[in-house]
Every structure is written in C-alpha cells, then in structure tokens.
C-alpha cells in the first residue's frame, strides 16, 4: 500500500500518537469480543449446568466383563443362515466369500468400513470346533469360516451329534424359531453353554421347560438381545431410575419396513434341493409336509417355524423397553392386524398392532401419590411403509426418544419442570437432554433394513467413542461369564418375560381374545390348552 507522502511531511507528535492508536484498533475490538464471548459462554454454561444438575444423568458404565485369557472356549455353531453367519462373525470368524465381498465394497465405497471393523475386533480367544446346518452349502460355508491355520471344525448334519462331541464347550444357536427351545434344552442336558437367538421359544410349554432347565443347571445362558449392550440404553436406564420423565403412562414402539428383505422374502439358494437340504431335520416338531424350498429359506413367514412380527420384531422393542423399566410380562394383551402388504401365501401378519396393559406400573412421579398408576405399551408394525416413527416413552414430566441416540423433551404441563419452563431455561421444542455417543464417530449404514436396526441401536454401539458391533459385545459378555463366572444381561429371567409376552401377543392375534396373565401363578389365565393346541403354540 502506498503511504500518504503529504501526511508524512506534516507528521507531528500528535499525529504520530493518533496513528499509533489507530494502528491498535484491533485491541479494543478484541476486548469487546472477549467480554461478549465470555458472557455468552457463561450464560450458555450456566443454563446447561442448571438443567444437568436438575436432571443429574450419568451415562452409565458398560457392564463389567472379565478377561478372555486361558484356553480357548470351543464353540459349536448350530445354524449358519443370515443370522448364524452374523453371530459367527461377532465371534471373530468370517467366510472367505464375505471377506472378499467386503473388500470389494470398501474399495468402491470408502464409507463401508465393515471389513475394517471386523478385522479390528478384539480376539475373543474362541475356537470353532463344530458346525451344523440342515443345508449342505451352509455347512461348508460355516466350516470355511471356522477354519484357522488349516484346522477345520467338524461338520455335523444333526445337531444331536454335535452336542455329543467332547470338543464342544458352548453352542451358538441361530436357527428357525421352532428349533430354539429343543436345541437349547438338548444342549443344556449335554452340559453346553448356550447363546440362542430371539424369540427364545416357539411355544408356551417350551418357555417353562427352558426356564426350569437353565435354573437347574450351571451353564451360562444368553438370549440374543444385543441392544442390552448399547451405551444409550445404559444411559436411558439412568434417566428412568432418576424419574426424569415422571410417571410413564404410554410407550410407543414401532417397526417400519418396506423392502423384500425386511418382509423376510429372502433369497432362495440355487443349490437348494432335497439332496442338499436335510428336510426332516428342518421340520423337527413342525407339521410334516413335503420338501418346500420357500419354507426352508423364508421360514419366518409361517407360524409353524417362525413367531411372526410378535416373536421376531416385537421382542426387540419389548426387550429394549424391558431392560429400562423391568416391567415384565403384561397383565393383558390385545392385538389385531393382518396380511395386507405381502399377500404371498404367508400366514404371519405383516401389519400388526399390539397393546400391552400394565395395570400396576408405577415407578414414582412428580404428582401427589395415588393419582397415577398403570401404563400401556404399544407396538405398531407395518412391513409396507418405512417412514421412521420414533420409539417414545411418554411421562407426565417429559418424553424420551429412544434409539442409538437419546433425546428428552420436557412436557408443556410438567409439574417437575414448571419453573424451568416458566424461566425459559428449557423449552418443549428443544431437547433438554441429548445423548449422542457417536458425536465424534464415523458411521456408514447400507440398506434400508440395516438402517432400521441401526436407528434402533440394535447394530452397534460405542465404547470410548469407537464404534463396536453390539452383537460382539453381547457375545463377549457371554464368553466372559463362562470364563469368569458372572451374570449376563439377557439371561433366562429376561428371556422368559420376552418369550411369554410375545406368545401372549401371538395368542391374542390368533384367537382375537384379550389374553391375561396371572402374575402370582405365572400362567396365562384365560386361554385353554385346547385353544393353544389349535394354533400350534401349546
């Protein structure tokens, strides 16, 4: 820049001083900035602290699990379909095909970090010694996944033979629902530890039998509700315990899916035939019918093998809430729905509404005692629309939206937050508490059904800001329980409640009855054995 020659000539002491002051124009402005910014910071912090002090939420520590040291635990894999393969990966074993496919996807799409996440997973010190599936192709895939340093697991066509093997300490069961209880019971009888997928059982009597078997045995039993490991749920539990929402009168949960995969229209393998599929071993206790590929691969669509929306997806939502509220089995259930979006011969509904009543539910509140008691849990599902409806826990003082993230809004008519609302410290349109364990993490979700599970906090969670597969953590907890003899977060008590609540919903749907539970005697009150037999769920 050119300087002013005339000005330089005329420069006296006064001008010099003035020019010096002008040169320091930044100082007063910075002073004003600092004062303003500090005042703004302090005001924001004070408001935040006042809210947080009032709420006093402490993100809970993850459940403590022990070390994985010692001899490897020898695991048998029973069922290597879609979920069985996922469970095996959570243990640290993937098929060469999956690894190659994921490598290719990661090259095409850098945000697809599934292979990297898998390779970085902690070693659980597990050896897969045996695999079993009714389909030859899957047996071989499972064997390939479990092969390490040329040591291949033994293939079994019949799970009973696998359970006889002294080389197996524990089994992971990811089979059709109607096999969960028979296989778990046989495994417990053989002294094997059990990790079994939901729904825990397919029939009412099995639920009692499995409960007794686990209670009378020393084995470690874990039911596959992996969201119990999700950090946001552990925090949500603290929010419930501190009664931040006030008395909860209504809980809304949903399933919203609109794709073939989400409606269980799975791929039918080209090699499927009576020669490659052990049909008798698939049918088990289901009615004897001739070989049917569709029934084998899409078993979730029929009551004979699956448990429908109630056992398959309601159980996720039910257990997500039960792990917060411990509300247990409902006093009564009504249910309605139908096959409205996939009229392809399936017998399980694809649109379903379940209403569970908890007449005595009360965990304290902000209003006078005696005014509030009772709660309704609603599960609303459609497989024909995927508009994302949130899971909401609605209390007198606030509403919590529950998922991989948590948000809590004060209620406009809250008693507890009345003053804070008046002082405009909180507002009904802004969350007064938001919990996002991934605020610095990096996510990538592929596919609509994957997004459905991720939003619900069912796919992964965060430990120290790093993304972790929640199924891996759930498995780790089970393996640690076996090694270090501690409890698990989804054992037989939780499993009994989950299965019985799902069965009551199924019975309500299929009989049209309001199905009631006798808490004292732990039996379904108003349904006869004949009625249960008529719908194949006795």
């Amino acid at each position: 820049m050119e300087t002013n020659k005339n000005e330089e000539k005329m420069e006296g002491a006064d001008t010099k001083r003035r020019s010096f002051v002008k040169g320091l124009i930044g100082l007063p402005v910075l002073g004003a900035f600092a004062a303003g910014a500090l005042a703004k910071y302090q005001s924001d912090q004070a408001a935040k602290r006042q809210i947080l002090d009032e709420l006093n939420v402490e993100p809970a520590r993850p459940p403590a699990t022990g070390p994985m040291a010692g001899d490897p635990i020898r695991v048998g894999i029973i069922g290597f379909g879609i979920r069985g393969e996922q469970l095996t990966r959570a243990l640290g074993f993937a098929t060469p095909q999956w690894k190659a496919g994921m490598k290719e996807r990661a090259m095409k799409n850098p945000k697809d970090t599934r292979l990297k996440d898998f390779l970085e997973q902690e070693n659980l010190n597990v050896k897969i010694t045996a695999v079993c599936d009714a389909f030859e192709v899957r047996r071989e895939l499972a064997q390939a996944a479990g092969t390490v340093d040329g040591q291949a697991p033994t293939i079994y066509q019949d799970y009973r033979k696998l359970l006889e093997s002294p080389e197996v300490d524990a089994v992971v069961i990811g089979t059709p629902d109607h096999w969960h209880a028979p296989m778990s019971l046989a495994a417990i009888a053989a002294g094997k530890h059990v990790y079994v997928e939901k729904c825990m059982t397919h029939k009412v009597a099995e639920t009692y039998a499995l409960y007794d078997a686990v209670k009378n045995s020393a084995i470690k039993f874990q039911l596959g509700h992996q969201h119990r490991q999700t950090q946001s749920f552990l925090t949500a539990r603290d929010i419930i315990e501190k009664n931040i929402l006030g008395h909860i009168s209504l809980i809304q949960t949903n399933t919203n899916r609109n794709d073939d995969n989400g409606a269980w229209q799975y791929h039918i393998h080209e090699k499927a035939s009576p020669q490659t599929i052990d049909w008798e071993n698939f049918l088990g206790n289901a009615p004897k019918i001739p070989f049917n590929k569709e029934h084998f691969f899409r078993w979730r669509k029929w009551w004979e093998y699956g448990t429908g929306l109630t056992g398959d997806l309601l159980t996720h939502d039910y257990d997500r809430v039960n792990c917060l509220l411990n509300m247990g089995i409902p006093d009564a259930v009504v249910c309605s729905g139908g096959v409205y979006t996939h009229r392809d011969g399936r017998t399980v509904p694809d649109v379903l509404q379940v209403v569970m009543e908890y007449e005595d539910y009360y965990r304290g509140g902000s209003q006078e005692s005696g005014k509030e008691k009772g709660m309704t849990f609603i599960y609303s599902a459609t497989l024909g629309n995927q508009f994302s409806r949130p899971t909401l826990l609605m209390g007198h003082d606030g509403t919590m939206e529950l998922g991989a993230q948590l948000t809590v809004y004060p209620d406009a008519r809250s008693t507890r937050y009345e003053e804070m609302l008046q002082d405009q410290l909180v507002s009904t349109t802004t969350p007064m508490y938001a919990y996002n364990p991934a605020s610095k993490g990096v996510d990538g979700v592929t596919g609509a059904t994957a997004k459905y599970f991720a939003d619900k906090g069912l796919m992964w969670t965060y430990r120290d800001g790093k993304r972790v597969d929640s199924t891996f953590l759930h498995m780790r907890e089970w393996l640690s329980a076996i090694r270090n003899d501690h409890g698990v977060s989804c054992g037989i008590e939780e499993g009994f409640e989950e299965a019985m609540s799902a069965h009551m919903s199924t019975i309500a749907y299929r009989t049209g009855k309001r199905v009631e539970w006798d808490r004292e005697n732990r039996v379904i009150k108003n349904v006869t054995t004949e009625e249960l037999e008529a719908i194949g769920i006795a």
Binding site: M1, E2, T3, N4, E7, S19, F20, K22, G23, L24, I25, G26, L27, V29, L30, F33, A37, Y41, P110, K111, N436, S439, K440, V442, G444
Partner: protein, 159 residues
Amino acid sequence: MTNYTKGQEFFLVVLRLAIGWHFLYEGVVKLWNPNWSARGYLTDSAGPFKDLFYEMGSNPTVLSVVDTANVWGLILIGLGLLFGFMTRWAALGGIILLGFYFLSHPPLIDVKYALPSEGSYLFINKNLIELFALGVLMVFPSSQRWGLDGLLKRTYATA
C-alpha cells in the same frame, strides 16, 4: 489509504472488523465445544465435489486434521482481520476456507441438504458473499492506517 474518502475508509475498516469478529467467534465456539466436529457438515455435502468432502468427513485421521485446521484457521484469520495483521494473508486464508464451505454446500437447483439453512439461496449464499467481501478487503486494504501492518511498518522504518 490516501485516496479513500472518510466514508470509504470507515466502511472498509468496519467490514474488516466485522468479518474478523465473525471468523474469530466461529473458531472460538468450536474450540469451546469438545464434541464439535465438521463430520456432520462434511458428510452432508452435495454437488460436484461431494465425494471429496465425504471422504474428508468419513476418514477419522483426515477428519481430525480438518477439524483442527478449521478451528485454528478460523481463529487466526479472525485475529488477523481484527488486528490488521498480515491482513492480505488472513483475507486469502478466509477466502480459501469460505471457498471450501461454498463448494461443499453449493446452493444448486437440484441439490438438497439435511442441515437446514437459515435463508433462501440460489447459486449465491452468504458464504460466497463473505468470500467476495474478503476479496474486496484484499484489493482495498485498510490495515496500513488501521492495523498492526502499518504500525509495524512505521515502527520498523523509524527504527
């Protein structure tokens, strides 16, 4: 600065201080928030360069560099403009940062963003206007009289 009228000089200095203030506050707010990250913004990118910005936002190593560079870039540019110190460089730095913001979220006809915008824009948005304003400050400097640039030069020359 000789040839500026009083009005020209006033508005040039005020414009520089205002943009400096804005940059500084944007930087300081991010510095104060331990959970702040450009990830959400970058992965919401659209337009012709979205892949580049997506990569920046989804690679944790790159992201941590981007986050640090952004926060300190904003603060240093802000201080430079406020004090009139290395003002051309500060303005140039500001133009580069704003250029990145603009290119990551260009207000094109068929482009939609998840992050809400506080106004209505087509092709031109406030990032681009602030970028042009910094261009004006580069070609019409005001730090020789109103800033450390001039003060240091005079002190240095006298000494």
